[in-house]
């Protein structure tokens, strides 16, 4: 018997479909997170489980009992909801608000019993708002007000707690405080919560449901749901997924790509290594260039960056010199590119072929990029690298000290 079971529900607002064929269940005592971009239907899903909206198809069961068979009062004894925040027109005290959580237990002709008062006191203690009991809800801070709403939900003694972005409006310390309170609730309470912050979701949830355009896109443990591919498919952004060094949970680092691509379809090849090209690769990628990189040795920092950004990369085994196969790939990339950028990197016997090949291209625009002038080409190839660079400059290669200059040259080359 699952605390919550949703079977194939469709929800529409008027003619607009908001949820389509959603099925899910929650296990007793778990925290189930609902994630997805704005408009994916997260709040509507919470609303369907708390009967604010009625699905046109499909069923919702609470402990194997159909949602429709509950009275409003019975429903409120099973399910409590913590909203994102509420605006309260009148000056109720904190205790007034928390006592409202007992409403489903008090008959129309009766008033609160001592048991109701005890439950209310315990709820306020759990949510750490006891000291606020006499204050007006309109005079306390946003974080305190959210805790009051949690206390009110706990006063309902629910089996299921639904949170609709209950912490989204709070600063990080209050978010963590409130989520810790929720995670420390008894094993009897099942929590289903909408999250905007993927890292909080990854840490606090036992399982995640990822929504995309009205449908369930992925479901499972945070490590399985939060991958670079799913996040890209659902949110349309590029991220790096790492493991949090302390918690062992997935940790998402956005790549902060710009959404406006100015240079769609313009190919640029970057020859770099040792981390000298990472920033440049990122900027070119963000600006919308079709970037290729290489030849790079596996394990090189720039190689890691290129793969993280999804940039095609010509590779060679660690510490190995450039093979004829890699050289052919490099030629193809250079042929396709409208310009080649060479970053000021250490050049040795292993990678000298990268620049030696450029001497065959008389017409190709070449940019030598020395970041801020701090870096220079370091020749570990007994003078040959320096000689090649000098000849490239003689035949018209430009130097750039800042990335903006590189972008200007590339614009002209297009």
């Amino acid at each position: 018997m699952k605390p919550v079971e949703v079977i194939g529900i469709d929800v529409s607002y008027g003619a607009k479909k908001v949820l389509e064929a959603i099925s899910l269940h929650a296990e007793k005592g778990e925290i189930l997170g609902i994630i997805g971009p704005n408009g994916a239907g997260k709040t509507t899903l919470i609303n369907a489980m708390s009967r604010i909206v009625t699905p046109e198809n499909g069923e919702v069961y609470l402990n194997a009992r159909n949602l429709d068979s509950f009275s409003f009062r019975e429903m409120a004894q099973q399910v409590a909801v913590v909203p994102q925040g509420i605006s309260i027109s009148f000056d109720y005290t904190v205790r007034d608000i928390v006592m409202m959580g007992r409403h489903p237990y008090i008959g129309r002709l009766s008033s609160a019993t001592s048991h109701d008062l005890e439950v209310c006191d315990r709820a306020m203690r759990l949510a750490n708002v006891t000291h606020l009991a006499g204050s007006s809800v309109n005079e306390i801070s946003g974080g305190e007000r959210q805790r009051v709403l949690i206390a009110r939900a706990l006063a309902q003694e629910p089996k299921i707690l639904l949170l609709d972005e209950a912490t989204s409006n709070l600063d990080i310390s209050h978010r963590i405080e409130i989520l810790n309170i929720i995670r420390n609730l008894t094993d009897e309470i099942t929590v289903i919560s909408v999250f905007h912050d993927l890292n909080l979701a990854a840490y606090y949830c036992d399982r995640l449901i990822m929504l995309k355009e009205k449908k369930v896109f992925a479901i499972g443990e945070p490590g399985d749901v939060l991958t670079r591919e799913t996040i890209n498919a659902v949110y349309g952004i590029d991220v790096l997924v790492r493991t949090h060094p302390l918690t062992g949970k997935p940790y998402i680092l956005p790549v902060y790509g710009s959404t406006t691509k100015h240079h769609q379809g313009q190919n640029v090849h970057v020859i770099c290594g040792g981390g000298t090209g990472s920033n440049l690769l990122y900027v070119l990628h963000r600006e919308g260039f079709e970037v290729s990189a290489g030849v790079l040795n596996l394990l090189d920092t720039d190689y890691a960056t290129a793969t993280a950004l999804g940039i095609p990369c010509i590779t060679e085994a660690p510490f190995a010199a450039i093979s004829p196969g890699a050289r052919e790939d490099l030629e193809r990339c250079i042929d396709a590119a409208c310009a080649v950028v060479v970053t000021a990197m250490p050049i040795g016997r292993g990678n000298i072929e990268n620049i030696r090949i450029l001497e065959n291209y008389r017409e190709k625009p070449i940019i030598l990029f020395c970041d801020d002038g701090n870096q220079a080409f370091q020749d570990y190839a007994g003078g040959e690298a320096e000689a090649i660079i000098r000849r490239l400059l003689d035949r018209g290669a430009v130097t750039a000290e800042r990335i903006e200059e590189v972008l200007q040259v590339l614009k002209r080359a297009a």
């Binding site: 708390s50 604010i52 409003f72 019975e74 004894q77 509420i86 409403h103 309902q156």
Partner: protein, 316 residues
């Protein structure tokens, strides 16, 4: 909190009783309570004129204040009031229809029907996607109220009624109140009690419809009950004394400042205060102002108060 609330309620009850005792002695013919038993005329004035009028004023004040309190809670808006959202005009139109068509038979029923239809119409017009924004509620109430008042004036005018009569229905007054009206007014405590049974629900719905559903309130039914009960109270009040404004606006507001927003205390406090307020307004007009419509008095302090609320709302 509990204690201050009960003290306030006791004090209000005391003030109300004292005011009633005081009001029966005041009037164009001033007389002391002691003279009731010595002068035969004095008893007649007391029993036939002043007592029914005082009781009616108190009960009508209660009705309007309780209806106003319920509406303010329901609409989460301390500017709602049966007069402003058009319920009173609807009631007045219903009452005049009964006068013109059936010589006044079933006047309270007509007033109730008129008040109910108007309330639900305004509510439907103002409702946008399940919410009732303050601005549209007030504007649609005012618009409908003007239309209904024009209808009322037209009907009364073509039916050959005096302007004084038209004025009565538009501004309200107690000058032809009799014991029959008091008998109708005994329905007012019933309506107030019905609303009081939902006091806790009103507390909760004042947080918002969805919140109320989460806390186990059958929101749609509650709205119907409250709107019906408010229209019932307003209908009876209007059929007795015409459309008196602002009692339902001011009383809940002032009482909320004194006893707080908990409707279990606010409703009885507003009922008592509404009675006191309207009783003194009526006493004022019949003693010092040649019995002009009492609505003029209530509007004189009610409208500035409304403007003050509007200003402080805009600042916030």
């Amino acid at each position: 909190m509990r204690r201050t609330a009960s003290i306030t309620l006791l004090a209000l009850t005391g003030i109300l009783l004292a005011s009633m005792a005081c009001a029966v002695t005041l009037g164009p013919a001033s007389m002391s309570l002691g003279s009731l038993f010595t002068l035969p005329n004095a008893w007649k004035i007391f029993w036939d004129v002043r007592l029914p009028r005082v009781i009616a004023a108190v009960l009508v004040g209660c009705a309007l204040a309780v209806a106003g309190t319920a509406m303010q809670g329901l609409f989460r808006n301390s500017m709602a009031d049966p007069y402003i959202i058009g319920t009173s005009s609807g009631g007045a139109l219903g009452a005049t229809l009964s006068i013109i068509l059936f010589a006044g038979t079933g006047r309270p029923v007509f007033a109730f029907i008129g008040a109910t239809i108007t309330t639900f119409t305004v509510y439907t017009i103002a409702r946008q996607g399940g919410k009732v924004p303050v601005e549209t509620l007030l504007l649609s109430g005012v618009a409908l109220s003007m239309l209904l008042s024009a209808f009322l004036s037209f009907l009364m005018y073509t039916a050959g009624q005096s302007l004084h009569q038209i004025m009565f229905w538009l501004m309200g007054g107690f000058w032809n109140v009799s014991w029959d009206d008091v008998r109708i007014a005994t329905l007012i405590p019933v309506g107030c009690l019905a609303i009081y049974l939902y006091a806790r629900d009103i507390n909760i719905i004042s947080l918002g419809d969805e919140e109320a559903i989460h806390l186990g309130v059958n929101v749609e039914r509650l709205k119907q009950v409250l709107l019906f009960a408010s229209a019932f109270l307003t209908g009876i009040a209007v059929s007795i004394a015409g459309a008196i404004g602002f009692i339902g606006l001011i009383t809940p507001h002032v009482m909320r400042l004194i006893v707080g927003p908990d409707h279990r205390i606010l409703l009885p406090a507003a009922a008592l205060a509404g009675g006191i307020l309207l009783l003194w307004s009526d006493t004022l007009t019949r003693t010092f102002a040649g019995d002009m419509p009492v609505g003029i008095i209530t509007a004189c302090f009610g409208a500035p108060f409304f403007i003050y609320l509007l200003r402080s709302r805009m600042k916030a």
